[in-house]
Symmetry: C2
Subunit: 333 residues, 2 copies
């Protein structure tokens, strides 16, 4: 264990993709906890597409990270000092937020993991925020019924992979959209989707139609742009569209127009957005349900693990440019 804390602070808001001037790595002493606080040594840091939204003064659902602040991001780690009776040294916890090797957190912000634990990194992915996002979306918005067709963009990603496996367990035909033959093969062979469409197809609308001969009842939107347009063209009557993210435009300086919404009336479509932090109670619910599936190997996940706190900015660029494969995490110990 080092006795210094390293942390990435925001130096300036990026235009387009984050670059070498966006963050600065600083080193300081590990702080001691104040009353009601807990200090963690973070084992893994989660890197997720939503982070691009925090690097902008554009009004969004959560406050921007301020210049000079530590960049936000969820971690899993162990308690190394506690000034709160609910936590002891050695406890494994999630909830500390920051691109940093050590965090000082309010005890109320942390969740202690107990029982037989899955690999720690999974609490940031399949059992963490991305997994809970997919669970919430499928439970409250998509509500897929057996025999329906579910189409999932960014299907090899941390959220899409979970959403698709949930839909398979619900008895649906599940079709993914992913970038390139390697990801498509993974989606079909490893994740067990019924089909996967490469979003680089010449005629994506037709390719989706081929893979979804009965049309699309639930579309899980992670991407936006041309993928969205092609997916929307294949929606069935009474389709549900889960608006989870539009990573294709997170670096855009000007937003392109979207679809004419006439079809929403004619087909009685529901298009609904969600953000996982509206349902904090779903974290425990999902962990309890899915941890056994992760432990027995029946639920598949893949991670890209970058090594060391210094790699965090590069990991974010990877997530935003589609270069990663599965859930992106940074290993800190």
């Amino acid at each position: 264990m080092t006795d210094q804390r390293q942390a990435w602070v925001l130096r300036q808001y990026p235009t387009g993709m984050p670059d070498g001037n966006t963050f600065e790595l600083i080193t300081s002493a590990i702080p001691a906890p104040g009353a009601g606080e807990v200090v963690t040594r973070n084992h893994y840091l989660s890197i997720d597409p939503y982070m691009r939204g925090r690097l902008s003064t554009r009004k969004s659902y959560a406050p921007s990270v301020q210049i000079g602040e530590v960049m936000t991001g969820e971690t899993v780690g162990e308690v190394i000092a506690s000034a709160d009776p609910a936590f002891s040294v050695g406890d494994i916890v999630v909830g500390a937020r920051g691109w940093e090797t050590h965090s000082v957190s309010k005890a109320a912000a942390l969740t202690k993991l107990t029982g037989t634990l899955a690999p720690l990194s999974t609490y940031l992915g399949v059992l963490g925020m991305p997994g809970v996002t997919a669970y919430y979306a499928m439970k409250d918005i998509g509500a897929p019924k057996a025999g329906e067709t579910v189409l999932i963009s960014a299907a090899s990603g941390a959220v899409g992979a979970v959403a698709g496996q949930i839909a398979k367990r619900a008895g649906c035909r599940v079709v993914g959209i992913a970038g390139g033959p390697e990801k498509c093969l993974y989606v079909q062979e490893q994740l067990g989707f019924d089909a996967c469409v490469d979003h680089r197809a010449d005629d994506l609308t037709a390719a989706i139609a081929d893979a979804c001969p009965k049309g699309v009842d639930v579309y899980y939107e992670n991407v936006g742009g041309a993928v969205q347009a092609a997916a929307f063209a294949n929606l069935n009557f009474f389709a549900r569209v889960i608006m989870c993210g539009m990573v294709a435009q997170y670096n855009a300086t000007e937003l392109p127009p979207g679809p004419n919404l006439g079809f929403v009336v004619a087909k009685r479509v529901k298009i609904q957005g969600l953000i996982v932090f509206d349902k904090p109670q779903y974290y425990a619910e999902w962990r309890e349900m899915a941890a056994p599936w992760v432990l027995d190997g029946s639920f598949v996940y893949r991670e890209t693990v970058m090594d060391g706190i210094s790699s965090a900015p590069e990991a974010l660029v990877g997530v935003l440019s589609g270069g990663n494969f599965g859930k992106m995490v940074v290993k800190l110990v």
Copy 2:
């Protein structure tokens, strides 16, 4: 009572607005009912924006009217001959469908009106399809709560006027959008909305913001286009958008792009389409609830009444171009 039946049949699909070549008025003998059929003398014919969609081979939620077929449209009338035990001469019924003075209908397609009746034309408007549409939309999608702000486009129209009055009864701040000072005055003074914005305002987004200082929780979409864009810009977190119609583009030969949907994620907006015929059971429910309000004058409605079957095509053009005021009906007797 004439002893001839007059009916408008479709001669050719219009490009853009229907014109003098779209329909043809034909005259024939009044048919006798077959077994299980009922013949009605229609008193009023309803003219509604959805009819434009039937005059197109573009795929939609209901079949197109075919060349040579009688144009579709709901009527209210009286039974003049019946070959079904459930109906007798003199019964007042809704459900016969056609731009025609007399209709032959299956008994199952008709609903007998009983009890103390409101004026017959209201069963095509405030108590008919447009009223039920607004009721369904507010009950199942908008679900406005007391204190919320509800914004309604085409507010002086048959659907908007009902939707707004339902929202007022729910304790909401209700703001209309209408075209021109006369309609706006009517919406505010007669219908009792809290405010009304002229969609011809220089900066419609700002005008809506002024009228909705706490933002928009429920937006009732009847229009599309620039009105939609301005309304969407004012949506609150967790807003519900009722996609009922987009009359601004019903004559468009090419659909314009729509809004970038990024805000749906960030604001957790729900955008949902509806078509009234998915909930046939709501007709009786709404008539029972609202007929007393119509009879006691507490529920306001306005009609444009055109005289005689020959005026039906002109009435449709009026509805599609915003020239009418309130519910458009054609008086047939």
